[in-house]
């Protein structure tokens, strides 16, 4: 039981990160019907920007950790958004209205470009960040034949889950209640009509990329804090899993992406905890295949569901 609860907490933590990335896939798909394969690499770029910012702030002599974390978060969201915006502007917008596969191909190209760019400028080796947030609270303790086992909720996990929760709530409100969110949904449902009502469709699409990238930056920063090492290749696996999460939840659906992210995180952690660590990535991929075959519209992907 304690072991189960511990895995649940770990799974939700990891799932939060996947969910944040999945939102970017699902929003872009919702609005222009395209899988942005470079999105995982935007997440990777976000984690590098976070690392550089963090180290720079420490080098500047700022010692208050909460302040450093907060500034790092903002800076990496800002700069990663700029990357997301640029990718859309350079690689996707010129192809709008061209054949369907064209942006998909440039997306794969952009993914390779981003990976290589980071590899060349930052080096191919892993970059470490020593653990910054230590400690936690013990939720419960249990006795087994091998001794005591404790259910721990670390401060790190608390921060990750709480930040994700806050962002997702804020984000859902943004989409469902504000005029910007309404314009986004309008573009998703009928771009021509949206333009006929005065919506600047290109700008709305750009903003969608910017938002997706900002959330991916948060995920990148959390990944960095959680694992303590990053390299230019982390975007691939995390990207595929987040994409799986988006498909599982129903691509195009915002709540679906959040739910799918949490589920993929849980599945991965439970799989490693109860079966084998080696095959944890296989588990995610298998789910992708199974969902695509048996449930292509995903858990929440029915047409009636509010999409982004």
């Amino acid at each position: 039981m304690e072991y189960f609860l511990q895995q649940l907490i770990n799974g939700l933590t990891l799932g939060s990160i996947y969910g944040l990335i999945a939102i970017g896939y699902t929003m872009v798909y919702g609005i222009i019907g395209m899988i942005n394969f470079a999105h995982g690499d935007i997440f990777m770029v976000g984690s590098f920007i976070a690392l550089a910012t963090f180290l720079a702030l420490v080098a500047l002599g700022i010692s208050a950790l909460p302040l450093i974390l907060f500034i790092t978060l903002l800076v990496s969201m800002l700069f990663t958004s700029a990357w997301g915006w640029t990718v859309e502007r350079l690689a996707y917008r010129p192809l709008r209205g061209s054949f369907r596969l064209a942006p998909l191909i440039t997306a794969i190209g952009m993914s390779i470009v981003l990976q290589n760019f980071v590899q060349i400028t930052q080096g191919a080796r892993v970059k470490p960040l020593p653990p910054q947030i230590q400690g936690g609270v013990t939720l419960m303790e249990g006795v087994t034949e091998n001794g005591t086992i404790a259910v721990q909720l670390s401060y790190m996990q608390m921060i990750i889950i709480a930040t994700t929760l806050a962002l997702m709530i804020g984000f859902s409100l943004l989409i469902s209640k504000t005029s910007l969110g309404r314009s986004q949904r309008a573009c998703e449902q009928d771009q021509k009509m949206a333009a006929l009502l005065g919506v600047n469709v290109d700008r709305t699409i750009s903003l969608t990329f910017v938002m997706g990238a900002a959330l991916a930056a948060v995920a990148g920063f959390m990944f960095l804090l959680l694992y303590g090492v990053i390299d230019f290749y982390i975007g691939f696996l995390a990207g595929v899993k987040a994409f799986t999460a988006a498909v599982l939840g129903g691509i195009g659906s915002l709540p679906g992406a959040m739910l799918g992210g949490l589920l993929i995180g849980l599945i991965e952690v439970f799989w490693s905890g109860y079966f084998s660590v080696e095959y944890k990535d296989v588990a995610a991929f298998s789910i992708l295949v199974i969902v695509l075959i048996f449930m292509p519209s995903g858990l929440l992907g029915k047409p009636e569901v509010e999409k982004v």
């Binding site: 309404r182 949904r185 309008a186 949206a194 333009a195 006929l196 009502l197 005065g198 469709v201 009636e304």
Partner: protein, 243 residues
């Protein structure tokens, strides 16, 4: 004809879909405060002209002047900002948004302080919409969608209202209501209306002036009463008990 009091002046407009030509040099004038109607057979190019005015698709050649400015190269969303609203062919209600949200989309360029008054106005015109404010657009009946499309266009406080077949698929009683509403908006508020109609009899009775389009060309024009008397018009568009 002098173009000075014109709100909209269209000169020599040609529009293509790829290699297919849909408009072959169209000239139309709409003066401030007028109701002008455009009639013509299926596929004549009426909807294409409405959409070309809004820049989607763009005119390949020719000139479209709205309120003194050439808009033939202006992006759609900026044309709309200048004061044109369209209730397009097929209504194009956002299916997964509520009636209220569809109306908010119509009002998004207008200062929020007008919203409550404008909402009240369209609800007075179409009480049906008020009852259905929270229903999803996609689940409205065809007639309700048509009302919503017109109401949504009105929410943007346009100087020029473009209506593409507002009577399509509606019961005769509702058609009559909608035409009365158009007339009221025009005479009480001075709203300028450019109207495409299959229902030529009603449209020509309502409009100050009309144009007949055949195969991408304007072939006739005149006051509504004049056109109603023309044999060609009667033969082509009015036979078969439109009365």
């Amino acid at each position: 004809m002098s173009t000075e009091q014109n709100l909209l002046t269209i000169r020599g407009v040609e529009t293509y879909y790829g290699k297919i030509v849909a408009l072959r040099g169209v000239d139309v004038d709409v003066k401030k405060g007028e109701i002008v109607t455009l009639i013509g057979a299926n596929g004549a190019g009426k909807s294409t002209l409405m959409m070309t005015i809004c820049g989607s698709p763009r005119a390949r050649t020719g000139e479209i002047v709205f309120d003194g400015q050439d808009i033939s190269r202006t992006p759609t969303h900026e044309i709309i900002r200048m004061g044109i609203a369209q209730s397009p062919e097929g209504r194009r209600i956002f299916p997964r948004m509520s009636v209220m949200e569809n109306l908010q989309m119509g009002a998004q360029l207008v200062d929020d302080k007008h919203f409550d008054d404008d909402l009240k106005r369209v609800f007075d015109l179409f009480p049906r919409l008020k009852e259905r404010a929270n229903q999803r657009g996609g689940t409205l009946s065809g007639g309700e969608q048509q009302m919503l499309a017109i109401a949504r266009a009105l929410m943007s406080r346009p100087k020029l209202l473009l209506l593409d077949e507002p009577s399509l698929g509606l019961a005769p009683l509702i058609v009559k209501q909608i035409f009365e509403i158009i007339k009221e908006l025009n005479s009480n508020e001075g709203l300028t209306v450019f109207l495409v109609e299959q229902n030529a009899f009603h449209a020509l009775k309502l409009a100050h002036r009309g144009y007949v389009m055949v195969n991408g060309n304007i072939t006739m024009s005149g006051t509504g009463a004049e056109l109603l008397k023309r044999d060609e018009v009667r033969a082509a568009y009015l036979e078969g008990g439109a009365h």
